[in-house]
């Protein structure tokens, strides 16, 4: 083989290895609907949102094992609005069980110690009542997962998230210092392990890659209480604002766009939404999104 031939073939081979990553389109969905429900009870508006989305049975099949991934990152109370509201989760769990799911697991790779955060967030108590398995992360269960992104390639992910049939993402809408906002896509940082701090370089791109490479079946954004300043930890009640809203969609990016708008930010100014739009994960223009608003 001549040197030129060798170079040609090696180029071909390597490009064929990398080429699939360009057509990977796990989270690109056409004709998705975003539902936005406003009301006084976090439980009721979540139920309504799922109903308006067409019911949970549209997403969950019988005998599915379902992972619900809330934000339980911080050792803060419900009123401090750093973690997903347990009442929102309760409504989702009920709907998932009604749709015939075999098992529900709740899990998050927390920032504070999980024993503390699961308890203080009120999620542990709720999960025990509902008969849902609450799992701690275990570093022995990390495996390298190829997100095939521009920036984010192989990164350790907890097996637990890959072994389930359906994945429901339940973030809380919050201010976030380095990512501007934390919503659905940012919440996916909680499925990865390793040195997550390293992801903060080009954080927006990493989050977009993460959301692009990992299939989310349903995103429900808890915006009942939102943390306007000093996120994502917060702590001060005066930084919390009552929005009494829940946003649900099968398209993670469009849910984030609507949530960002609700927060009062321009979606195109949020880096991870901008990058996700460039990956054609959805519409960034609110007028183009199929948005249905309700009051319950």
């Amino acid at each position: 083989m001549k040197r030129r031939d060798f170079l040609k073939t090696s180029l071909l081979v390597s490009s064929s290895i990398y080429f699939p990553s360009l057509i990977n389109s796990k989270n690109v969905l056409a004709n998705s609907v975003v539902v936005k429900v406003h009301g006084d009870s976090p439980y009721k508006i979540t139920k309504r949102a799922i109903k308006e989305l067409g019911g949970m049975q549209k997403i969950i099949s019988k005998q599915d094992i379902v992972m619900i991934k809330p934000n339980i990152g911080w050792n803060r109370t419900i009123e401090q609005a750093a973690n997903t509201n347990p009442l929102v989760l309760k409504a989702i769990i009920e709907e998932v069980f009604n749709a015939g799911a075999k098992k529900i697991i709740i899990m998050d790779n927390t920032c504070h110690k999980p024993e503390e955060t699961y308890k203080r967030s009120g999620i542990e108590e709720m999960a025990k009542k509902m008969g849902v398995e609450l799992r701690y992360t275990d570093n022995n269960r990390l495996i390298a997962y190829d997100f095939k992104g521009e920036k984010l390639k192989r990164w350790p992910v907890f097996k637990d998230f890959l072994e389930v049939d359906k994945f429901i993402n339940v973030p809380i809408l919050k201010h976030h210092g380095s990512a501007e906002l934390t919503i659905g896509m940012k919440n996916l940082i909680g499925i990865v392990g390793g040195r997550r701090g390293k992801l903060h370089r080009d954080l927006g791109m990493n989050i977009a890659d993460l959301a692009y490479g990992f299939k989310t079946h349903l995103t429900i954004v808890d915006s009942f209480r939102i943390l306007k300043r000093n996120g994502p930890v917060g702590g001060r009640i005066s930084d919390v604002e009552l929005k009494k809203t829940v946003i649900a969609s099968t398209n993670i990016m469009e849910a984030d766009v609507i949530a960002a708008d609700l927060f009062g930010e321009k979606p195109e100014e949020i880096p991870f939404i901008k990058f996700a739009y460039e990956k054609k994960m959805g519409n960034m223009d609110i007028s183009k999104i199929n948005l249905k608003s309700f009051a319950a």
Partner: protein, 517 residues
Amino acid sequence: MSSKNTTLIQTLRIGSQILFLFLFYFLLIRTGKSNVEPSGYIDLFFYFDPLIFLLNIIATQAIQALFLLSIIPVFLTLIFGRFFCAWVCPFGAINHFFSWIFKKSKKKKETINKNLLNVKYIILILIVIMAIMGTHIGSWLDPFSILFRSSTIAINPAVNYSIEHSLKDGANDKSIVVKGLKPIYEFTKKNILKTEQRVYFQSILIGMIFFLIIFLNFFKRRFFCNYICPLGALYGLIAKFSFFNLKVNENKCKSCNLCSNNCTYNGSPFKDYMKSECLVCFNCLKDCPEESIEIKFNFPKKKNRTSIDLGRRRVVGSILSGIFISALPRISDIAKSKRHKFLRPPGSVSEKQFIQKCIRCGKCMQICPTNLIQPSFLEAGTEGIWTPVLDPNMGYCEYECNRCTQICPTNAIEKLSIEEKKEFKIGTAVIDRNKCYTYVDGYNCGVCEEHCPVPDKAIRFREVEVWNFEGKLKKVKQIYVVTDLCIGCGICQNVCPRSDHPAIYITAEEEQREFNY
């Protein structure tokens, strides 16, 4: 006394030892459980220790009410002699057990060594004299401290590791044999193990010392208790005035000397009965074929007292050397140095008080949910070995937690409410501008800002232009520390993504407690 009664009393003694050992570990594990409300009342074991009471009085010149509990064993010692060591002491129980194991593996008969027996009294004198001079070493040798410290730092984490790495994989396995282990694993995980493996810098040293103490039982029965233990020495001194006595009925005795066979200090009531050394274990009663040994309670008259023969020269010598040795740490660099590099847990008293009050038990390390509190080696001076210091590379001080401030038996870490702890300044975060990405590499990071628990944020962003590592001027959200707001919790250092050295770290700068050494 009939042989039936002696068997009963032996069973009772062993039962009592097992009970107290179990209780000690039950309370130790309970202290570390995150679902147990932290308070000084979880584990009262240390309050029954008259040696620590004595050292605490010397250090604080005040009496801490709970320590009055230690009068109970002292009072009982006045009646029953040094019963504490063979009936109550959990560390004594461990040494007793291993002496019994090692005895089976060797035939040679042990002999009494009175000089060696006196060593513990000299150690006690040294400890007390040095405490009066302001140097605290008693807790290195106090049996409760040793056991609690060794268990927290070495034994429990090692057990934790072994179970996680043997049973756990078994529990996940599909085969029937190992599946049987699953309930065992789940039980230990729920009740005994920590959620997260504990790691301590001093594990090896403290673990080795523990095993050395146990191994010493191979040479002499209950080596530590007879020759080193200062608490045993204190009880020995008290037992000198006790009512309890063993008497040999000379009509029955045939001078076979079998009673010395299993004596904990290798003496015998027949030949060398030493009231201060007798642990009231009643082995001799069991071993006597003629049942000639009798228990007598009589008023301790002066001529009845078996004296501890230290010799005036040794007493004076140990007092003088105590005075000299205690001066050594006072003239080491830490006394004059204008800076110190270590951090103490929130609520710690001033350094001088801390080093005298702290009993190096490791309770704060056991209860810390994040593994932040570590036993020091030489960071806090030779005197401060195994006192708690903070290593934010291992953990961080949880904002909503005040556990370590609640359980310190001697209040070296003073009680703080959650609100008080949130304000307590452990130290201050300092940015290493040669390492922080937002300063030197010119790209956004901000993990520390994200984690900063202070509601106002002690770490904030400012928009600046930085020459990045490609040589271009770039707009960056650069971090800076608001020193007045920072409480030094260390989560910023803990989460800093740099692998070599944290770009933001906690120093003792502006710490709230006083540092007058």
